[in-house]
Symmetry: C3
Subunit: 255 residues, 3 copies
């Protein structure tokens, strides 16, 4: 993939991969912007999320999905759209729509509504029969601080129920969930989580560059990262490979 031969570039597994995953959030790209994005970044992105309910309003949605499919790029709808259907008791409609659109991935979240753990795991158990399920832990509400042991319990319960990966919530802006309102990382929380859940089972939402750098330094260049803006996917790959100032000497041999 590299245009130039360089020594000491860390190894990246080929797609499809379960580690080193990059998930991009699309908030309404046009057909042509989608093509442009894929032309530069398809090799560096594993899956694209059509953010929250944007897919309800996107013109030519089928045409757009066909372009992603032609590039073998999996697409799924943001967890908020699941919640929008769920809270209206239209979950069956939602499943029919996904089947009709040939979307095989689905996100189960409860960031904007209340759901007991039993209810959530039951839904995951049911939906994981027909879909690859990602489930998200952590509230979008900046005032709800969830204790570390509860994060772990929820993640484990959701993986047991059938989730392929759990997503650690940070929102599009990276200011809630694992992050303080100022964007700083709750490192004690992340320590506690990693002590108990395998890293490859977690997809960390990290929209801001400083957060991406922090996770790469902590968990290595093949950490799973999500909510990456489309035009930050190639820059993130440079971070993973030590091709940017922030990770410049992370993969160089120590003298």
């Amino acid at each position: 993939m590299l245009n130039f031969h360089l020594k000491h570039i860390p190894f990246r597994p080929e797609k499809p991969r379960t580690e080193g995953v990059t998930m991009v959030i699309d908030k309404g790209m046009s057909i042509r912007e989608t093509e442009d994005f894929l032309s530069t970044s398809a090799d560096y992105v594993d899956i694209v999320k059509l953010g929250w309910g944007t897919s309800v309003l996107t013109p030519k949605l089928r045409e757009k999905l066909a372009i992603f499919a032609a590039h073998n790029m999996p697409v799924y709808f943001g967890g908020t759209l699941f919640e929008i259907f769920y809270v209206r008791k239209q979950l069956d409609d939602y499943c029919r729509i996904l089947e009709d659109l040939k979307i095989g991935h689905l996100e189960v979240s409860d960031g904007s509504m209340d759901m007991t753990t039993e209810e959530k795991t039951a839904v995951i158990r049911q939906l994981s029969k027909n879909f690859t399920v990602y489930s998200e832990v952590g509230s979008k509400d900046a005032t709800k601080i969830i204790a570390p042991y509860l994060w772990v319990e929820m993640m484990q319960a959701e993986l047991d129920a059938g989730s392929t990966k759990v997503i650690a919530e940070a929102r599009e802006t990276g200011t809630v969930g694992m992050f303080h309102a100022n964007g700083g990382v709750r490192s004690d929380l992340i320590d506690e989580i990693l002590h108990q859940i395998p890293a490859e089972k977690i997809l960390w939402e990290a929209p801001q560059k400083s957060q991406q750098v922090w996770f790469i330094q902590l968990l290595g260049h093949n950490v799973n990262l999500g909510n990456i803006p489309p035009n930050e996917a190639l820059p993130l790959e440079t971070l993973r490979l030590g091709l940017r100032g922030d990770t410049f000497d992370l993969f160089l041999p120590k003298e």
Copy 2:
């Protein structure tokens, strides 16, 4: 317009509309970016402002205006361009240019220069004979704090003089006028204004998402909002329709 059938989606009037207006600010999109923007967002946008003096420098301006016209999308030049001509005593030139370019809307503002209320209303009275006039209240200067009663007096005088709508200044960044330097909203000011001026006569500049959410919560989903970046127009429409976490339960039936 919705791709999927969902219950409890609030009503949006069809275009052309006087309430629920979205005004987008363009700071120099190319021809193709203009087409891309219209392909995703034309249904959700009522009018486009070519920001400040960018239209002086935009290559192929006539071709760009023709694309907007082909989509029945009204376009006007930012108020700063009016001021640029006005302060040079070239207002007649400005009117001739607008007529030549078949631009029917015009913004009268005094954000960067001093103008008495008499002078400003006289200009509005004159120009509203030939153009649909928007006039803007509030300074771009962060150190000029205008008292609430003065905002109301100015808005009323300008509407009386012929303005179709008054625009409440916030700048491209949302840090002056109705907003504190940190982007927070001067809610006492907005209360005072709404006590006296009909909401549909006001277009609120609200470039930041938190500001858009604040206005939708206060004034409902059909509030008039402006200075929206092109790629935030579709996301704003999701806010108006309860399709994003921030307004998720605003339109759901109360239990």
Copy 3:
């Protein structure tokens, strides 16, 4: 270049120019985005930097370079890429690559690695035989505060060694080097530099609008500015010409 005739517009030299230079940073635009950027901004931009190591990962790099060449737009690779090759003792490879790609400009920097002044000037002396060399002063490390007299000494030594211009570091975000972590300008430092180095020999990195305004107010509209995001190049030109609120009356005759 102006679409409308306006009085009191300051003079901008034609390209190619040595003063009033605008350098844009590209962090991975697609072929079509490159064409779009050039269609609106080619007249307002003097040179494009492919940021840090993005060119290692950009698909169809040769095709992209050909588009820039067809528009007579010089391109060079970010200084971090020089450092990436240098620290791996692959500088010869780097030179061969540039020659092969017909890239005539090169940036020498030491923002991410340690290099003595002797070592750096020796490299500049060698490379300036075959390339137009820009050299960058200032660390990417926010904790390294370099004293003003050292900035001056380094700049002078590098110009003497063959640099065409010296670049004053600010990073993509504008928060290090000449800037405080909050983006404010270290004005004492800039004063000291200008007392000793000719302004036209310096290219100031100023990615944020407030920084661009600050430099234009201090050094005039033909100041050399760099690290401008592609879609901010036309807006910067409006600042240079007094067509935006921030510089509205800078070039008007004083009453």
